[in-house]
């Protein structure tokens, strides 16, 4: 640590105690973001301590990045400055839980698994079926707005986040929304925190609506030899009375990838996946009679639309595929040194277009796959074998095609995960958009001195 860092550490120690401040290169490296490492890591245990830390950072013009378990720090542009890592995992309790009201208030640093365990005891859950589930915190999940595979049935975080408490860049503790399921009292500032990558403040607590677990769950995996059958299948299900809780489409190489990049690399392709085929995985839940109806009607739809095979999964198989689908992004992000995942914000519109996208990287001999949920977004993952100049050059070319594809499909695209070298040559957020000026206004209202995660977000925020 240099002299400045030692002073900063000493001051932070006076706030949280010496045991909760570290300047060791090991712990600083763990909180590194795109090659930038903080000089100090501080782990507050209360929102009052967060207020003191942020006020101090503001007065000393230090840059802070709020972190949970560091699973998704790779999302975003490299920070312009980075002095202190704000380790939020010290705030990790359920502050309030009223199972009878189906509402919950939880500290941002609590792990999703701890939260999930507490809710399961009341036969409830929060529908955040997100990648890195076993490792990540509630706050990181919201700040990254990483996709949940339950979105078709339960919506995204903005649909069930009721309120939040956070410390903004002025160093003041603020709250927005509440703990009730319906509330229009004041501006919905908590919605802005979703996907903000820590640029607006340090989230200390989040209020959610909880949902009852269902009596039973099932999954239908159907296999199609061509993309052409996917759209008719999707339309048929969508126009039926069925309301699946998840609907994942895996491009022809995606299933293979699941098998290859699982933690246990020797595990064979699960029996419900077929090499080189498109797969549609439909999750459903309910009472026994409801499950029976889902399975018979979904099988009927799949057969009508020319599925080459199908598998109905129950019990442990069903649990297993839910985890595979939930963790797909994680598996792909860790699939190699140059793994790159695009997120395309548009309706997937499965057609020859998507297939074209899927074949784009083959020109560069880069393996790739597409996958999406029925309600979008569409993900496009590339797994180059090596990381070198040639790879980065190819990835950059593919990126501009993807941005064009998104624009042509009435949407936008960004890169969720990619090697740092690619971030140095292209803008991962794609072409500038006309609402960037408004976003900068939001940023300066929340964080006038630019204390939080400078440079990490869109529009140079």
């Amino acid at each position: 640590m240099n002299a400045k860092a030692i002073n900063v550490a000493a001051r932070l120690e006076s706030v949280v105690g010496a045991a909760h401040v570290s300047g060791s290169s090991e712990s600083c490296a763990r909180f590194g973001v795109d090659g930038a490492t903080p000089s100090v890591v501080v782990r507050p245990a209360s929102s009052a301590e967060v207020v003191e830390i942020v006020s101090f950072a503001k007065s000393e013009k230090l840059a802070l990045i709020p972190c949970g378990n560091c699973t998704k720090l790779g999302i975003g542009t490299p920070p312009a400055r980075y002095d202190v890592a704000l380790d939020m995992t010290g705030l990790n309790q359920i502050a309030y839980y009223d199972p009878g009201d189906l509402t919950l208030s939880v500290d941002a640093g609590m792990s999703l698994t701890d939260l999930s365990d507490a809710l399961v005891r009341q036969k409830q859950f929060v529908p955040l079926a997100v990648p890195f589930f076993e490792e990540c915190t509630v706050g990181g999940t919201i700040a990254s707005n990483i996709g949940s595979s339950l979105r078709p049935g339960y919506g995204s975080a903005r649909d069930f986040l009721l309120g939040a408490e956070f410390v903004n860049g002025a160093g003041t503790f603020t709250k927005s929304g509440g703990r009730v399921v319906k509330n229009v009292t004041g501006y919905d500032l908590h919605k802005l925190l979703i996907g903000s990558l820590g640029t607006l403040g340090a989230i200390t607590r989040l209020n959610f609506r909880t949902f009852p677990l269902s009596e039973g769950y099932g999954h239908l995996v159907s296999t199609f030899s061509s993309v052409d059958s996917i759209a008719p299948f999707q339309a048929m299900v969508s126009k039926s009375p069925l309301a699946p809780s998840s609907f994942d489409v895996l491009g022809s190489e995606a299933a293979q990838t699941v098998a290859e990049f699982k933690d246990d690399r020797d595990s064979p392709l699960p029996s419900w996946f077929t090499r080189g085929e498109w797969h549609v995985c439909v999750g459903f839940e309910g009472t026994e009679t409801v499950l029976r109806r889902y399975s018979s009607e979904l099988v009927h739809c799949a057969q009508q639309c020319g599925a080459s095979s199908y598998h109905l999964l129950w019990e442990s198989d069903q649990k297993s595929i839910r985890v595979e689908l939930r963790e797909l992004i994680k598996l792909l992000s860790r699939s190699g040194p140059a793994a790159t995942i695009f997120k395309i914000n548009s309706f997937p519109g499965f057609s020859a277009d998507v297939a074209t996208l899927d074949t784009l990287p083959s020109r560069f001999s880069i393996p790739s796959c597409v996958f999406a949920s029925s309600s979008g977004p569409l993900y496009f993952a590339l797994q180059p074998d090596d990381l070198n100049d040639q790879t980065i050059n190819s990835l950059a070319q593919i990126a501009s095609s993807v941005f064009e594809y998104a624009a042509a499909h009435n949407g936008s695209a960004s890169i969720l995960f990619c090697p740092l070298a690619l971030k140095r040559v292209i803008n991962i957020w794609g072409p500038a958009r006309n609402d960037y000026a408004l976003m900068r206004r939001v940023k300066s209202a929340f964080d006038p001195e630019n204390v939080f995660a400078p440079g990490r977000f869109v529009a140079g925020i």
């Binding site: 009223d98 199972p99 009878g100 009201d101 189906l102 509402t103 409830q124 919506g155 995204s156 903005r158 903004n168 003041t172 503790f173 603020t174 709250k175 509440g178 009730v180 399921v181 319906k182 229009v184 009292t185 004041g186 501006y187 919905d188 500032l189 919605k191 802005l192 979703i194 996907g195 339309a235 969508s238 126009k239 009375p241 069925l242 309301a243 009472t287 009679t289 409801v290 109806r293 914000n345 548009s346 309706f347 979008g376 977004p377 009435n410 949407g411 936008s412 957020w429 006309n434 609402d435 976003m439 206004r441 939001v442 300066s444 209202a445 929340f446 006038p448 869109v458 529009a459 925020i461």
Partner: protein
């Protein structure tokens, strides 16, 4: 009707709002002739109202607040809206957006005069994307008209406020409107994916995306429910939902209010998820029955109107579960609507209930508090006690499944003592809602009705950030001034503030 403690010497007024608040006090000057001429040049002479007799209708909305605009304009296009806003900025005149004027918190009133933009002529459905279940509409489209347009395709627009046959989608967006079926499907913000906006300097901007996910901050989420204080909305992209296969509407009849409210808490606790769960107490349902003849039993203490939707098998199971809960809580009877006609009649009774109450008392004040659903029984007992203590009839008709209470205090405003007691009783109820973990407003909005109550829920620091967001978009308070934020801090707690919130429904 608006009473405030403006004469109070201890009054502290903050920000630019102060200028407007004072303007409200002084005799309002008509708009300069040059402004009127400018407006006429933009939208055409016949689309500008400025004579006092023409403006009368636009002094009111669904609340009892009042505020007369200096002029009312009816633009046809976003460009015209932008030009009007630019003109207003040049002359330092505030601008207020308005849909059908059915709001219940004074959101669409010209509190400090200025130019009112009425979106009645911007009422076209611009695009129906049935495959992706989206519609792009202008703000003046009437809520129910959108549902009618997409019904043939088996789709509908979910937010269903009581005023859905007249209120506009632009107004729904401004107020983040709710309705009975928000229990299952969420409020307006859950159904809006993109907006076109006109900022106070006339700039036209788009936020969000048709799909719903977009790059960066969720600006659409911020603008929905901002009550016209950040920007004017000129185009809206909404989600459309597919109509359920099966709908069952139940009327559960109780001899004790406690049994009905405990049934609601138990339905939530057992994780039964109705699409709607409404409660009417005996007093209210008798008033309704007299007016609508919906078939409510006259001698009961309370009824629950419960709707279950979805796949036939799921609905059948849920109907059985609801019937079981009702029986355990001593329901005298549970009736299931036999056909669409019976169902519509029950809903007609519910949706016209406030009108029915208006017939039996000279005035009523409808509250909009929200509480945790596990606390409905105790909240209703508390409201009952308040009614007894203040000697008022307080009707209860509300979205029970959401914990969104609408206690309705019936009183005679001609009796000054009653008027004052009604205000105090209402304030006690709202304070209680907040104390047990609730909020001031579930769906009616803050507007100029509850802005002085906001400190019950928010700290100075909370306001400070909200104010900074306000100023980031609307720095001169040129759009809808005098709404949401409390205007003064020196007015000893609730009483004088709640006076502004009294809502008189004339006979």
């Amino acid at each position: 009707m608006h009473v405030d403690c403006k004469g109070d010497a201890s009054l502290t007024i903050v920000g630019k709002e102060a200028t407007y608040l004072l303007a409200e006090n002084t005799a309002r000057k008509p708009l300069h002739r040059e402004v009127i001429r400018g407006l006429q040049n933009i939208v055409g002479a016949s689309m500008v109202l400025h004579r006092p007799e023409d403006l009368l209708l636009y002094e009111y909305d669904g609340s009892v607040e009042k505020g007369r605009p200096g002029a009312v304009v009816f633009p046809m296009t976003t460009q015209e809206v932008s030009q009007v806003v630019r003109l207003a900025a040049q002359h330092d005149v505030p601008v207020i957006g308005r849909g059908a004027g059915t709001g219940l918190s004074g959101g669409a009133l010209a509190r400090t005069g200025g130019i009112m933009i009425v979106f009645a002529r911007m009422n076209r459905i611009l695009e129906l994307d049935l495959e992706n279940q989206r519609a792009v509409v202008q703000p003046g489209v009437v809520n129910y008209e959108l549902t009618r347009a997409v019904e043939p395709a088996g789709l509908y627009f979910a937010p269903d406020p009581s005023s859905q046959k007249s209120c506009t989608i632009g107004g729904n967006v401004a107020e983040n409107a709710g309705g009975p079926h928000t229990l299952a499907y969420g409020v307006t913000s859950n159904h809006v994916t993109a907006l076109e906006l006109v900022l106070p300097d006339g700039e036209i901007c788009r936020v969000g995306s048709r799909h719903g996910d977009s790059m960066g901050y969720d600006l659409a989420g911020l603008f929905v429910g901002s009550e016209g204080t950040l920007a004017l909305v000129t185009e809206i992209t909404v989600k459309l939902l597919r109509k359920p296969e099966s709908v069952k509407t139940l009327l559960a009849i109780f001899d004790r209010v406690d049994d009905a409210s405990e049934t609601v808490a138990e339905i939530t606790a057992r994780a039964i998820t109705p699409a709607a769960c409404e409660m009417l107490d005996g007093w209210t349902l008798r008033a309704v029955e007299d007016f609508i003849h919906a078939g409510f039993p006259l001698d009961s203490a309370a009824v629950l109107l419960i709707e279950l939707e979805g796949m036939v098998e799921a609905v059948t199971a849920q109907v059985a579960a609801v019937e079981e809960v009702c029986a355990e809580h001593h329901a005298r009877e549970v009736r299931v609507a036999r056909d669409e006609q019976e169902r519509e009649l029950l809903w007609k009774g519910r949706k016209n209930a406030f009108g029915a109450l208006g017939r039996i008392a000279p005035s009523n004040y409808v509250l909009d508090g929200v509480i945790p659903r596990s606390k409905i029984p105790q909240a209703l007992r508390y409201i009952q006690q308040i009614g007894e203590r203040y000697n008022f009839k307080i009707g209860n008709i509300f979205h029970a499944g959401d914990g969104n209470l609408h206690p309705t205090v019936l009183f005679d405003p001609r009796d000054a003592g009653q008027y004052q007691r009604a205000i105090e009783a209402s304030a006690e109820i709202i304070r209680y809602c907040v104390e047990i973990g609730g909020a001031l407003t579930g769906e009616h909005g803050v507007g100029m009705e509850k802005n002085e109550l906001m400190p019950l829920l928010y700290s100075d620091d909370d306001f400070d950030l909200m104010r900074r967001i306000h100023d980031a978009f609307n720095p001169q308070s040129a759009l809808n001034p005098g709404k949401i934020f409390p205007l003064n801090k020196g007015c000893g707690e609730i009483t004088p503030r709640a006076q502004a919130a009294v809502r008189a429904v004339p006979l």
